[in-house]
Symmetry: D2
Subunit: 376 residues, 4 copies
């Protein structure tokens, strides 16, 4: 693991998620950019001091030279470090599991795409929300045509933790353009919402219009984004990302409407998927429960569940699904086998998509929220 030292929320999440299904063991780390803190953090989580490194370059080099060196690295640093760290490990054939957004700039993302294309290692981006079973089911239902042609995509991600000027570790780097990149809310949570919509619908908009705001005095990045989206197919969408909406917690929510039916999913109750065929009663689909359509092709939902319906699985289990799928892909690769069917591993393409989204938002915002193309 690189990053994820003491006090970092997301590092602990990666550690639990990797451990949950028993496919990973954490054996080495460069847990902080401060060597002292790296050492302390390593001790706190029981790492062998010999494999606690002062910086990621040293770690990549040392681990690559060990016979039983790490097979994969988790990158849990602030955004601006994703690129150099990923590059260092990919270059040595070590698989990378990286937090999102993929990089701080679109240029870096494109460079990383090239590097990853040539590397002998996997690159996985932890868009964890796309690994919830009911999101996978939604994707399968859209693909199977249960909704008919898609017309509308309403997605939102609302939080309240930046309602006031705050100084917590998580908030600090996220509101600093040097470390977070050009996007505030759009980078931190907007990319999740955008990727979730793409996962469910199988479509990416080609144009967007973005009205970005920084409501809290002194804040240097956006803390609220109001975005309109247009798809080549004629579908349209709205995306709202906010970190200043008091009373919301981690309110990711998606609604998709087609000619024949709608779907609705809220992160607050991630095991429920509403299916609303036009002219029929709404159906409440539940993780592990019976479905509305006769099984979407390529969906292997059982594999993403651990306990029966009614025994709530949540955020850590969803995150673990991604780690477990990555493990299966890595094992297959090590065995010279093809990637197992039914996996859905976000990677370079999702990362590029995220940076293009951020880039388009900023271009639109500087043009008074005019519609702009989402590259390429």
């Amino acid at each position: 693991m690189v990053g994820g030292g003491a006090g970092a929320m997301i590092g602990e999440v990666h550690r639990i998620a990797s451990r949950l299904d028993g496919h990973y063991e954490l054996v080495a780390g460069a847990l902080s950019s401060s060597p002292e803190k790296a050492t302390e953090s390593a001790a706190a989580i029981g790492l062998d001091p010999a494999r606690s490194y002062a910086d990621f370059e040293a770690m990549a080099e040392a681990e690559a030279s060990l016979e039983d060196g790490i097979e994969a690295v988790s990158i849990c640093t602030p955004n601006h470090m994703h690129f150099p760290v990923a590059k260092a490990f990919l270059a040595r054939g070590i698989h990378v599991i990286c937090d999102k957004p993929m990089t701080a700039t679109l240029g870096e993302a494109e460079a990383l795409a090239e590097i990853a294309g040539k590397a002998d290692a996997l690159f996985v981006l932890t868009h964890n929300y796309s690994a919830y079973p009911e999101i996978r089911r939604a994707r399968a239902m859209v693909a199977a045509g249960d909704l008919g042609s898609i017309r509308l995509v309403q997605v939102e991600y609302a939080q309240d933790w930046l309602t006031e000027a705050v100084e917590s570790k998580q908030a600090a780097w996220r509101s600093d353009p040097e470390k977070a990149g050009a996007g505030g809310a759009i980078g931190d949570i907007g990319t999740h919402a955008f990727q979730l919509a793409a996962t469910v619908t199988g479509m990416v908009p080609n144009r967007l219009a973005a009205d970005l705001s920084s409501f809290v005095p002194g804040r240097r990045l956006d803390d609220n984004a109001h975005i309109l989206m247009r798809y080549e197919s004629g579908a349209k969408g709205m995306l709202w990302a906010s970190q200043v909406a008091p009373g919301t917690e981690n309110g990711l929510k998606i609604r998709v409407y087609g000619e024949k039916a709608g779907l609705e999913w809220h992160h607050e109750a991630p095991e429920t998927l509403w299916f609303t065929p036009f002219g029929e009663p709404a159906r409440k689909l539940r993780r592990g429960g019976p479905g509305a359509s006769p099984g979407g092709a390529g969906t292997d939902l059982e594999r993403l569940s651990r306990v029966p319906p009614g025994h709530p699985e949540g955020y850590l289990e969803g995150f673990a699904n991604l780690y477990t799928e990555a493990a299966r892909a890595i094992r297959a690769r090590q065995a010279g086998e093809p990637t197992p069917e039914g996996l859905l591993l976000p990677g370079i393409e999702d990362g590029l998509m995220g940076l293009r989204f951020i880039d388009a938002c900023i271009r639109s915002a500087t043009a008074d929220a005019a519609f702009v193309e989402i590259a390429p």
Copy 2:
């Protein structure tokens, strides 16, 4: 009553709403533009045939000349008839209770504003959703500063009844520009959402950007609207109005976020208002139940309730609130007294606001959804 003949949903709503609290008796009508149907409809609801008129002009003239002629008229026609009918009755000093949008065009709205300004009669616009007790409470809470300065307004109104090409009476005129005016979803339900946001926040945006769609082949007016809003104060908003979202029924919903707290209200459960002060547990406020703040000035919520909490009141009771407030205003006027305190009667200003909203949406839509000013 003018309009509201057999098969018209909203005519029956106005009749029940007016009757519910016992302040009105329906004694005369021109219930349809077809004289034959007008006669049949009058018989069906038990009107005295002598006071069932073949057209509204005849009715206005005859009733104005009767000693016990009507005191007020309800206008339940398609949109394009609102203006001439309202004009005919206002000119004769008969109070007008008119469905929304106020007129078919902004020009008519401005003309009616002038007429009403000179008339010796009230003009009430039935923005019924603004008469729900919990909406009034929300308004009082915002006015009292419970949310702090407002930052965000997220409002939506989603229906599914126009998902397919339909030919019902209600759908027919609503999708005909000659009768509905230039707005489809934006006129029929967008104006409600816009007025609701203004009611709750006490603010009207000064700019908007609108992406309008007609998803159903052959439809001549918009059936979906994606709208961004900006307020002079720096607040921002999103408005979504759709009639093609399968599984939604009459999904009006508003969320308002300020520096200190949020509010959330859904029409599906109109007696519940969520109050979410930052850093405190969410509170579920209920019609007739205890409040969060020590009573907003000018709010007289008890008057808007008939039965204790837990005995659901709904759409017809909300609509009746408006009729009853109109009756109180009319009685006061007849008695030469000032309008009672605490009334909130939507009228000409709300009507003008609605038409300006429609007008701005269409101007923006024709400019690729660029931000435009909302007149005046």
Copy 3:
């Protein structure tokens, strides 16, 4: 109307419910047992003073002798007056619409049954909750076998308004055995829950065990009832009625489970009926919306709705359904026609059932909550 004077909640409910669909006009009353208050109350609601009576006997006699005397009377008095008032009007061939429980004692109920059997007038008991469209739908679904053979009936009715010792008008007589009869919560709300379960399932238990409590010091009647029920078919049930459960409002709720499926309905959202077939996704049925089974025999749900789905109808509309069904039955009787099909008018049988329920509860409670037979 007899009873229902100023300050009486249920009197106003009966007045609105009768007026809502336009089938009744209130023309006479004996609104209070205090002549002075009767006069004031009559004036307050605009009754002709000549038809405001000082007592119900005078009213029955006078109205029976008028050519255009009342056709029906609403009884909204405390429970102990139901019997004498109903008797007085039935004896004169005036239809009776009476609040529940039917009488204060089982003896009175049996006497009234005999009187009503010989009277030339209808007797309707306002078990209003049984007139919600989704309750009627539930009944039709059970009757159609959608649930298979019924195994379990879980019904509850929880309120909190008697949590503390209170002196309001409503509370006063309800906690006085002289006026309420032997049942407190079991009479006031338990009978509603019991009748609702019978309406939905089409079955009445033959045995019950009741643990009754009076939690508030000084209270003379039960304010909480814990009841077990057994049906002849082998089905079992639980009934909870409480008036001391803080945070509940008017929490009537029923869940029925059969061999094949379950149903769930909450008064808090009376337009939603959950249908849960075993091994299939739960379906959310909505008033006015599409159903799960191909229409139950004898159900005429459209007639019980006024506005489209998503425009909430509530308590007063449900109550009005009963008044309107009574009007249809009365009109048919006046015309010498058979009672229209599809009506479901609670009457003498429901009243007897309620008093037998109360009687059994008290017998069980005095036997340390042993199971007892529910007469006859």
Copy 4:
């Protein structure tokens, strides 16, 4: 681990729960009563074959003799094996973490209590639901007097998986009195509900009346239980446990009402606790979120959470809380330190309570559901 071989749901739950926070490593097992299946299951989860035992006695003996033998054992067998297995390990000073109910009979439970009292090892019973943070918060609030004196306890646990005669592994032993003990639903889920009520209220009823049913033809144990409860304090309660309620999943739910306020918690949304002070708006308390009262004594809720509010934690995290508390208690004991403050580890007392509950249910059921004492 003893029990928990391939196909056993609860074994996998214990494995994940123990691993989640990183305090346990699974190194030995007797995973099945069938030696062959034990070997296969051990291989499937990667156990060292040398430490996969054919029976629990062999395992206890061998592990106790190893220098690095297991410190604790998880017992995941059918109920009838809990006693002999627990005895074998406790006798050797190995800590026991045992699934519920503690034993198959009350006699065994009493014997185990004696054994455990003399053993140099901890005995922990996995009443996992009592380890949800919001349940702990509820307990602290009751203890702090936020509800006033408790009057009512309404608890239920409804499932539907035994609606039909089923032959799955889980169902097979649970409906066999030889393996499950005398209780069906009352043992499997009723004990959870009973223990949850005791956890929240801090009180155990002294009397109960139970109506037990076996609805599915041929079923030998109860699949539905309707139970009334009485507390020495005068409080009363209802407990419903069912495995034949179609549409319910794992529907554990508790509501507690006192003189001043109520609390409500549903397992379906385990991170939400409703607090309903009489005469005030309901408050929605959320895991990790702000509270209603100024922190209950001995509650250390932060320790029971891993991720911020809005990132759902569920069943496995709740179960892991118990494992982690056990680890902390074990470590303290090993270090010769007192048990850390704020732990709440269900153990022998809870196990005895559960068996006394089952015993009382059966005694009452055989006496036509008369109230009986809950021993001792």
